[in-house]
Each structure stands twice: as structure tokens, then as C-alpha cells.
Amino acid sequence: MNDTDRTADFGFEKVAWNEKAGRVREVFASVAGKYDVMNDLMSFGVHRLWKQFALSLTGLRPGQQALDVAGGTGDLALGMLRQVGKTGRVVLSDINSSMLERGRDRLLDAGLVGNVECLVADAERLPFDDNAFDCVMIGFGLRNVTDKAAALRSMHRVLKPGGQLLVLEFSTPVAPGLKPFYDAYSFKVLPLLGRFVAKDAASYRYLAESIRMHPNQETLLDMLRTAGFDQARYHNLSGGIVALHRGYKI
């Protein structure tokens, strides 16, 4: 089947395979200005703990190389920069230039220059040599990728042997009794927040829908293994609202 016949999920909507990337780009271009504020509002600040947990597992040491895929406003890249120090290198990449600009400005404002690069890149076709990075992280980005399997393969390719991939992403709640409240919050409160704060309810409706269409923990774990990752496992955070998947290139 060629790409013109295939469809992809854009939230609950089915769109042409080639159309999804553009639609996602529009969503994030629209919310880029309020992205960080909205993250704090929507998660009550807990997203900082999820990211901190992911950063605590990178295993990065000074002098190493790391890649933040779909890094957006750069908070994970910022954490990884602190871990690799001045002798290391971090690449912040995103398919959306508006988000990337925010990330680049934030890193500059933090005085982090010289060992960080920002570039627009498609996660499915990362423009790096094979075996280039000690750690690759994608935080809240994989669900927006059209071909997730291709993105995982691409991230596996650029990892050095022994390097680790970390996928931080919304997932399926597993804590008993959580799902009805989570659904009500996602579909009623989030679009309202988006409407009043970011002036864009549709983008936040997409957020809730895209989370529901994203593979659950076990499915994503299988996808990691299929892409060639060893020692693949996952950790549920906040009752499974978010899951951190990890795998190594051996």
C-alpha cells in the first residue's frame, strides 16, 4: 500500500497518511506560545516530576552525546545538558519550527550555548549518522508521529550500541477508578482550558483524542522490541496516565 492510500489517526479523525504531519504542525504552531503554561495548568505541574523521573534514568555522564527528539520547548534537553556538562553535546530537534524557536530561546536564556544544537528534523528520518548518541529521549512527542515504527527504528539507528532510548508519553490509566475522572477531565476540562488560556479549544481536544489513540503500554513495549530494542520495559507514572518506556541498543 502506498502513502496516498494509507490513513493515519489525527485524534479520533482519520486523515490521509501524508496529511497528518502538516495537521500536527498546525496544532503546535498554534499553541507554541502558551505551551509551557498550559502544561503546568493541565497537569498541575506534575509534568515536571514526570520529566525529572525520565531524566533520572538517562544514565548520561559528562562528555556524552544526547538527542531530544520532538523536544519542543526544550525542558528535557535542558536537563540532559546539565547531565552531559560542558564537554558533552545535546541536540534538540523538532519537526515544528515554532516550538523549536521557543526551545532555542529558552536554552539561550539559560546561558546554554556551544554544546547544544537545535534543528528541525522529522523523527521518522533523523538526519544523523548511525551510532551517534548515548541517549535518545522523546517526551510527549511519539503520539504525534505518523509512522511510529519508523520513528523508533530511526531512533534505534542513531543510538550507539549500549545507548538507551526513553519514551515519555501519555498512556492508558491502570489505577482502579481513575479512568472515568481522567476521561471527564480530558474531554471537558482540557478543551475549556485551551479555549480560555491558549485561545484554541480544538488543539486541546486533539491532545485528549490523540492520547486515546496512542498505543497502550504493552503495545508500545512490543513496538520497541520490534524496532530492535533490548531490555525493553516500562514504568507507569501517576497511575498509568503517563508511561516511561525504555530500551537499549545492544
Partner: protein, 224 residues
């Protein structure tokens, strides 16, 4: 498989940092490649620890990942065959802590950690945990910076020493109250005096008994 608890991942990350920071621990981890032990913390949890590629992996027992499966079946390592852990270390949290520290073992076997299976691998893991043991002050300094971490560590050490002293003093005070004020317990001098009295009564009773037996054995005849 089920999810690996986040707290276990954090502990694993701490130990892996320790392994990466110690040449001896790294060499030991390489030697332990493709081995697995089971750690049973009585009343709390059971954890499977394996080493793959020189990296420690901790999993809640029962939540087998590909890594643990590889270790178990020997598909990616030198070891083939077994589907169980090479060794099991079981004990209370305190006993396991003492084992890692290499301190004196308890005389009471029930209170000491127990090792089953390949004792050499179990001992190697014990040494690995000891070598890669996290330096709490160093870990704290990653979050709050060097100086506050130093101050907090000193404060923690002083607090711990104070708590130990307070516990000892409180015990002494309670014992003194029960012995001297409420008189619910006797003090050591009184107890020893009582025991000496019991010994004296027993000795006297034994002497009387011996004398009576001797009298009984004496030939019975008309008084002279």
C-alpha cells in the same frame, strides 16, 4: 509483562551510577554478565537483579522483561539453560543491609540473611551492591548543589546521632522509673542480692538433704 515500579527504576539508576563511577564495580558487573539473583525482602517485596551489558537491572519478581528472559534462557549471554535465578538472598531489610555492609552476622539464624543457590554469585552481587552503594550526599548534591548537600548531610548525621542518644536515654529513663519510682521492676543490685539469697537457700537445702540421707544410712540400734 507488568510494569516495573518507578521506585525500583530509581534505585536501579542509583546503583548504575555507582557502577559507572567505580572501575572495580564495572569490572565485577562485566564478570556477572547474564546472571540473575532473586532478593527476597521479608514482608516487603521480592526483586530480581540481573546484569546485562555491564548494567544492573532490577525487576519486581514476576515482571519478567526480555532482559530477564534472556538471562534466564541464556540467549544473549554465555550461560545457557536454567530458567530460575542463580541464587536467592532472603532476609529482613536490616539483615540484608548488614549483609551488604559486610558487618557481623547475627547469632540468631532467623535474624540473619539466608543465601540459597550459587553462593559465589550471591557473594559477587553482594560485593557489587557494596561497591556501587549510592553516596547519599553526592546524590543530594545533584539536586540541591554541593554546599547545601554537605550541610544537609551533616545535619542528617547529627540528627541521627541525636536520635540514637535520645533513644538510649529514653530507655534508661524508663528503666530507672520502673525500678526506682514505681517499683514495678527490681534494680540490678536487688536482683543480684535476691539471686544470691536463692543460691544460699538452695545450698543450705542441699546440705540438709545430704545430712538427712547420711542419718538415714546410719545403723539403727539402742542408744548407747
Amino acid at each position: 509483562m507488568t510494569a516495573t515500579p518507578a521506585w525500583l527504576a530509581s534505585i536501579e539508576a542509583l546503583f548504575n551510577r555507582g557502577i559507572a563511577g567505580s572501575a572495580e564495580a564495572s569490572a565485577l558487573a562485566q564478570r556477572l554478565n547474564a546472571t540473575m539473583i532473586r532478593i527476597e525482602v521479608h514482608g516487603i517485596t521480592a526483586v530480581e537483579a540481573s546484569v546485562m551489558g555491564g548494567r544492573l537491572a532490577l525487576l519486581a519478581a514476576g515482571s519478567k522483561t526480555e532482559a530477564a528472559a534472556e538471562v534466564a534462557t541464556g540467549t544473549s549471554g554465555a550461560r545457557a539453560g536454567s530458567t530460575t535465578a542463580d541464587a536467592t538472598i532472603a532476609g529482613s531489610p536490616l539483615a540484608l543491609l548488614r549483609l551488604v555492609r559486610g558487618g557481623p552476622t547475627r547469632r540468631d539464624p532467623a535474624a540473619a540473611a539466608q543465601v540459597r543457590g550459587d553462593a559465589q554469585i550471591a557473594d559477587s552481587y553482594r560485593r557489587l551492591f557494596a561497591l556501587a552503594r549510592p553516596d547519599l550526599e553526592e546524590e543530594l548534591s545533584r539536586v540541591v548543589g554541593d554546599l547545601p548537600a554537605r550541610r544537609l548531610a551533616q545535619f542528617g548525621a547529627r540528627s541521627f546521632a541525636w536520635a540514637l542518644r535520645a533513644q538510649r536515654t529514653a530507655g534508661d529513663n524508663v528503666a530507672e522509673y520502673l525500678q526506682e519510682e514505681s517499683r514495678d521492676l527490681v534494680n540490678r543490685a536487688e536482683l543480684e542480692e535476691f539471686l544470691r539469697g536463692v543460691d544460699a537457700v538452695r545450698d543450705t537445702a542441699e546440705r540438709i538433704e545430704a545430712r538427712l540421707k547420711r542419718l538415714e544410712r546410719m545403723p539403727k540400734g539402742p542408744p548407747a
